[in-house]
């Protein structure tokens, strides 16, 4: 392969050739003596060196401009084009760069419109899903209501049992549709956060109350420790979503006669909500995934088949978008240790047990966020009137 001569070498060759020619010319045609010729040669080389220095400097400057532009392009700057001077190799390089930039710009513009189309399709899907799926689901719900209430005559206990199964499955579907809608609203960024003065402790108690049947059925020991809290600016709907999801997980994934504890603490800057359980825990290798969509840990999948795998994804988005933080710890043996006990006192098969979720809410309350939709879970818009 023939290697082309580099530009700077060309300059050097050029100057060397002409200066040699000049010396030969001076010696033989001009008849100058050797001493003078030596001085003259030195002077000529100096001059040539200075000239080539400036020529080189100009080239380097232009190359630098191109390198700088390349770095800018790598960082996404595609708007400003390079100025083109002359027709040499550097000018050609700059022209090629400008062309590349235009093409990239066009490509990105196409990508943006494509992703806009995609998000529009997603929004359309959400609207269709919300209307089309919820309509038959509510029809099923209402007709089961009729049958269970005895509006169409008495039902015997077996029929009642079957109808209740149908009802529960239908409720699960409603929940799933609501969760899917929430996820789409989170992904599209269309959900709103509307803080208003709320009593956090009262809301926590209401959420626990909602699970009271399950708590007593599983004989779970439920402890609560609350600091005195001021009235805070919270979006009641979102707060409810957070409490209900985290509590329902803690209760669902704690075996019978286990323990669950809800602690609400006031710190300097935040309200810290801590929900601990003595349940099955989250396997170490799966912990990085627990906030991802549709994820359910292997150990609980075997124990409890019901669950969408969307709850924690929704909770994380809600907490973080409203200015708070969420994290967890598992195993969390606090609840298994009675006074003075150490971890080594716990039987080996229980050392992976327990999970604690930590959630913070800034003391100044949730950050307001405008959006076109509310999250659907717990969609009782009528409480605006109260």
């Amino acid at each position: 392969m023939i290697t082309k001569i580099k530009l700077s070498d060309k300059i050097l060759l050029f100057t060397f050739f002409f200066s040699s020619l000049f010396i030969v010319f001076a010696k033989f045609v001009g008849g100058i003596s050797s001493g003078r010729l030596l001085i003259f040669t030195c002077l000529a080389y100096n001059l040539i060196f200075i000239v080539s220095f400036f020529v080189n400097k100009n080239f380097i400057k232009r190359l630098e401009a191109i390198t700088y532009k390349l770095e800018e392009m790598a960082a996404g700057g595609l708007s400003k084009k390079l100025k083109i001077k002359g027709k040499d190799e550097i000018a050609q390089l700059a022209t090629a760069m400008n062309e590349l930039m235009s093409r990239l710009q066009m490509g990105i513009a196409q990508d943006v419109s494509k992703s806009h189309e995609l998000s529009q399709a997603k929004t359309d899907f959400v609207t269709i899903a919300s209307h089309q799926l919820r309509t038959p689901l509510s029809i099923i719900k209402w007709y089961i209501d009729f049958l269970l209430n005895g509006d169409a005559g008495n039902v015997n206990s077996e029929q009642k049992k079957y109808l209740e199964e149908v009802y529960l499955s239908n409720e699960r579907l409603i929940e799933l549709v609501n969760a899917l809608l929430d996820v789409s609203r989170i992904d599209l960024g269309t959900f709103s956060i509307e803080p208003e003065p709320c009593d956090l402790v009262l809301m926590a108690d209401q959420a626990i109350q909602k699970h009271s049947a399950e708590i007593s059925r599983k004989k779970i020991k439920f402890k609560r420790k609350y600091d005195r809290l001021p009235i805070m600016n919270l979006d009641p709907r979102l707060t409810r979503i957070v409490f209900e999801n985290i509590l329902s997980n803690a209760i669902k994934y704690t075996p019978e006669s286990g323990m669950v504890e809800l602690v609400i603490k006031k710190t300097d800057k935040n309200i810290l909500i801590k929900i601990s359980d003595s349940g099955y825990g989250i396997p170490k290798e799966q912990q990085p995934k627990i906030f991802t969509k549709l994820f359910r840990a292997d150990n609980v999948r075997k124990i409890e088949s019901v669950g969408t795998g969307l709850g924690l994804y929704i909770v994380k988005a809600v907490v973080e978008k409203s200015g708070g933080k969420i994290w967890f710890q598992s195993p969390s043996l606090e609840l298994l240790l009675s006074d003075g006990q150490k971890e080594s006192d716990i039987p080996i098969d229980k050392r992976n047990a327990g999970t604690t979720f930590f959630i913070t809410i800034p003391l100044e309350g949730m950050k307001k966020k405008t959006g076109t939709k509310k999250l659907t879970s717990a969609d009782y818009i009528t409480d605006q009137r109260k």
């Binding site: 919300s130 509510s138 029809i139 209402w142 007709y143 549709v177 609501n178 659907t376 969609d379 818009i381």
Partner: protein
């Protein structure tokens, strides 16, 4: 019986309308059913019910437009209206609130009994 309370229900989904009509009739209401917004408007202006329950997405006139037209009428200025829908975007909620409609019920979240209870509360007959 003259102390029948009257309700107009506008809902384009057949089985849903039948369920609501049945429930309200069994609960002692006189019901005027309507299968689209236009029928809802003409029946409302003619029968002047005590309360209205409207879907939003309906043929001919949608629920929000129907509210405006009812509020334009002298009789309809104050009549209580409940929206029973599966659409719950903030714009619709805000639009309904402009016309004094604050009960925005998402169908899948409500049992028929609770809907009747809410209607009775609004009519102050509990």
């Amino acid at each position: 019986m003259s102390d029948f309370k009257t309700i107009l229900i506008a809902e384009d989904e057949g089985p849903m309308l039948r369920a609501l009509v049945d429930k309200f009739e069994k609960s002692g209401f006189k019901v005027f059913p309507a299968q689209d917004g236009e029928e809802g408007l003409s029946k409302a202006l003619k029968e002047k019910p005590d309360i209205l329950m409207l879907d939003i997405i309906m043929p001919k006139i949608n629920g929000l437009e129907l509210i405006k037209k009812i509020r334009d009428d002298k009789w309809g200025e104050q009549v209580p209206i409940i929206l029973l829908t599966n659409l719950s975007d903030n714009d619709s909620v805000a639009e309904a609130a402009k016309y004094g409609v604050y009960d925005f019920l998402v169908k899948t979240d409500w049992h028929l009994d609770d809907i009747v209870k809410l209607v009775k509360e609004r009519l102050e007959i509990i």
